[in-house]
């Protein structure tokens, strides 16, 4: 394995609770005040799902210039604003050594709908060449790279539930492999009417067609589904020596990251399914000799199948005697809502815990369909 070490030197977030850098994120995490409210801006439809954690448009308007707000789609504005906040927080400049890693579940679906509707209403003359590029999911990474002047690889990862976690793991790999010296990595999603209503119709959101009240209650009795959130959260990952050389503030280190697959049918969950060949399983079992984790953040979001799957995987792979206090893992979904930025918020929370003396923290994730992630966050080595 490469000797290049990866540290965390900043973060930026625009979410339903707050907008800002490390201090703003820390304050929101300390408050843990839920931003989940009745949906605004569109009708949630006649179903039982009516809640979401939405970013107020006024917040976003204060973070992007007039030209950008006219030129960029809303999800691109969220991305650019959060990436700029992160880069500013880390006092980081662009260049050929700076990369971008964006995780997203739904991408700019709003633009795809708008583009298709133009054709369906007016035929070929209704097609907008300005909107078409937004239908390609890497548009957020593209505009972020332009905004930051980031000319190392800019990658986009599409993944449910753990897109932000995966982008951070991949961002670290870009640094370890020498493709970048620093990477702004995280996740972004926005709530749009079509996605919200269809997910609700399909029973993918709380209360999942059941009789219980709509709520986000990960790992609790009566958990009955997730509630959508939106926003963008990005952290700045840097090669450790370079960060130290430029005098960067180092919040934590990412000594290891792994991701793998627990084969499950698309959109399915398979609690108890073995994944012994998975790099995540290997990483967690190999670290049993290391100091214990002081805390574990997880991707549990109230979806009962995902919550239970995550707990069963962790029970099996962690050292029971040493890590018993870690379960159930801490979920941030009841505060920020489920979106791709949530993985980066989990990671940011772990980095803040470490910077406050928490020791080693595990950020774990599992998604329906079987993508599993593990990020180990630790105090920086001297």
């Amino acid at each position: 394995m490469s000797a290049r070490r990866v540290v965390v030197t900043g973060m930026g977030s625009v979410n339903a609770c707050t907008a800002g850098g490390t201090e703003a994120v820390a304050e929101a995490l300390d408050r843990m005040r839920s931003a989940i409210r009745p949906v605004t801006g569109f009708s949630a439809g006649g179903g039982a799902s009516r809640l979401a954690a939405q970013v107020e448009d006024g917040v976003l308007a204060g973070l992007v210039g007039r030209d950008e707000s006219r030129r960029l789609s809303r999800i691109c504005q969220l991305t650019v604003a959060a990436c700029r906040l992160a880069a500013h927080d880390a006092n980081l400049a662009g260049g050929t050594a700076l990369g971008i890693a964006v995780g997203t579940e739904h991408g700019d679906f709003r633009s795809s709908v708008e583009f298709a509707t133009g054709f369906l209403e007016r035929g070929p003359t209704g097609l907008s060449p300005m909107i078409f590029p937004n239908t390609v999911m890497n548009t957020m990474a593209s505009v972020a790279a332009i905004a930051l002047g980031a000319r190392a690889p800019s990658i986009t990862l599409n993944q449910p539930t753990v897109a932000g976690d995966l982008a951070i793991a991949r961002g670290a790999a870009l640094i370890r492999g020498g493709r970048a010296q620093a990477v702004v990595a995280g996740g972004v999603d926005e709530i749009c009417e079509v996605v919200y209503r269809r997910l609700a119709e399909m029973g993918a959101l709380s209360p999942m067609g059941g009789p219980g009240p709509e709520a986000c209650r990960p790992h609790q009795v009566g958990h009955n589904g997730s509630i959508l959130g939106e926003g963008a959260t990005f952290v700045v990952l840097e090669e450790a020596e370079g960060a130290r050389a430029r005098g960067a503030r180092i919040l934590a280190e990412l000594p290891s990251a792994a991701w793998g697959n627990v084969p499950a049918a698309p959109h399915g969950a398979r609690p108890g399914r073995a994944d012994r060949a998975s790099p995540v399983c290997r990483l967690l079992r190999a670290r049993r000799a290391a100091p214990p984790f002081s805390r574990c953040y997880g991707s549990g979001n109230g979806d009962p199948r995902v919550d239970d799957w995550e707990c069963s995987l962790l029970e099996r792979d962690l050292d029971g005697a040493q890590d018993r206090g870690l379960l159930p893992p801490t979920s941030l979904a009841p505060v920020f809502g489920q979106h791709a930025g949530l993985g980066a918020l989990r990671f940011g929370a772990a980095a803040l815990d470490v910077s406050r003396g928490a020791g080693r923290v595990l950020v774990h994730g599992i998604a329906r369909g079987g993508c599993r992630t593990a990020l180990v966050v630790a105090p920086p080595e001297p």
């Binding site: 369906l120 060449p129 390609v136 399909m202």
Partner: protein, 405 residues
């Protein structure tokens, strides 16, 4: 930037699989490619009334019908499953190597073709069916979920969306996993089925040629849309040799860069393209003169071909290398393009035959390269480079070397 010399010297290609406009399977692909055939024809899958271009390179109906995957899956999932299965079977991996393999899929359109069908019917007030099924596979990650489950892969699984560079990036990043020691085997590649949004979008940008595309021609007028799935099995070289696996080629190096210039237009001086090619050569430990062939991105648009030629001049010098575009034969297969062209490059090295640029009758005098007009050319090339560039200024270059040296 840290020097990444010889980062991939231990990664080999041990399996190939493809579903292309020439049909299903490697044999059909190479036969079409070597013959210089153009598979771009009248489009049948999308509405074309009122559009500048009404042609596309579609996977033939009979080939789709013969694919073993269940018909309830999206068109793109079926293509991906067939190509990935062929690549794994071709590599003849042991059970352990296969189970632990990483899966890196480049994708853009996902199951959008079926999602569009549903949405079209919904908006037009026509009866819709299969709503949930169509919507569940609409996003790009659906392919990786299908492949990971059906092929029982436990290694790192991810879906890269990097526009037309997705397939090439999947190869570079899968190789990174082997180089970093995370895995010793990776199934990598790209897939895209034709979608209405893609066809209409490039029409709206006026980037489609009404005739089959003519990359590097003086009278070129744009690209032709295609569809395909192509996968490669990458392996740690020592593992492959130890188990007696076949080595098609060595992946000697790769380079990735971003223009950070414009969402749709490449940097006017080809800065990002040059950097990707130079990084790929540096990581391969090769000089420009050691590359005998470039499989170009070569879309056939005025701007791409002009700027790619400029970038090639900056790296290789005027006429310094033989160049051709596979897109002239199978169209621009979007997220699959990089992996389709990587397969073409690997087969060219293996067979000692460079595929031509079809439809190239009037070469552009401002493109100072021999672009292998219309006929494949025998050439024993030791190393070749494959370029993939995409919206968002995404640039990927791969360097392959002959398997037996």
């Amino acid at each position: 930037m840290t020097r990444i010399a010889s980062r991939m010297s231990g990664v080999v290609v041990s399996g190939l699989g493809i579903v292309s406009p020439f049909g299903a399977g490697l044999k059909a692909f190479w036969t079409g490619l070597a013959a210089g055939t153009c598979a771009i024809r009248a489009a049948t899958l999308v509405e074309t009334d009122g559009f500048r271009s009404r042609i596309a390179a579609e996977v033939p109906g009979e080939a789709m019908a013969a694919l073993p995957a269940a018909r309830h899956r999206s068109r793109a999932d079926r293509m991906a499953l067939a190509a990935a299965s062929e690549a794994l079977a071709d590599a003849d991996l042991g059970a352990c190597e296969r189970e632990a393999a990483a899966l890196v899929v480049g994708a853009v359109g996902g199951g959008m073709y079926e999602g569009e069908s549903w949405y079209w019917r919904e908006v037009r007030g026509e009866a819709s069916s299969g709503r949930t099924r169509a919507l569940r596979s609409i996003l790009p990650f659906a392919h990786a979920e299908t492949l990971g489950f059906r092929l029982r892969l436990h290694g790192p699984k991810e879906t890269l969306v990097m526009a037309c560079a997705s397939g090439g990036a999947s190869i570079a990043m899968g190789a990174d996993l082997i180089h970093d020691g995370a895995v010793s085997t990776a199934l990598v590649g790209g897939v895209d089925a034709l979608t209405r949004i893609c066809f209409m979008g490039f029409n709206s940008l006026r980037l489609l040629d009404p005739e089959p595309c003519r990359p590097f021609a003086r009278d070129r007028r744009g690209m032709s849309i295609g569809e395909a799935a192509a996968f490669l099995v990458l392996e740690d070289a020592e593992q492959c040799r130890a188990r007696g696996g076949r080595i098609y080629a060595r992946l000697l190096g790769s380079g990735m860069s971003t223009d950070a210039h414009h969402v749709t237009a490449p940097h006017p001086e080809g800065e990002g393209m040059v950097r990707a090619m130079e990084l790929a050569l540096e990581s391969a430990g090769l000089g420009p003169s050691e590359i005998g062939y470039v499989n170009a991105h070569g879309t056939g648009t005025l701007q791409n071909d002009r700027i790619e030629a400029l970038a090639l001049r900056r790296v290789f010098g005027d006429g310094g290398v033989l160049v051709s575009s596979t897109k002239s034969q199978v169209g621009h297969t979007m997220a699959a393009a990089g992996s389709v062209e990587a397969v073409a490059t690997v087969l060219a090295l293996q067979h000692g035959l460079l595929p031509p640029t079809a439809n190239l009758v009037n070469p552009d005098p401002e493109i100072p390269f021999d672009c292998l007009a219309r006929e494949a050319r025998p050439a024993a090339v030791a190393a070749a480079l494959s370029n993939s560039f995409g919206f968002g200024g995404q640039n990927v270059s791969l360097v392959f070397g002959r398997g037996e040296l």
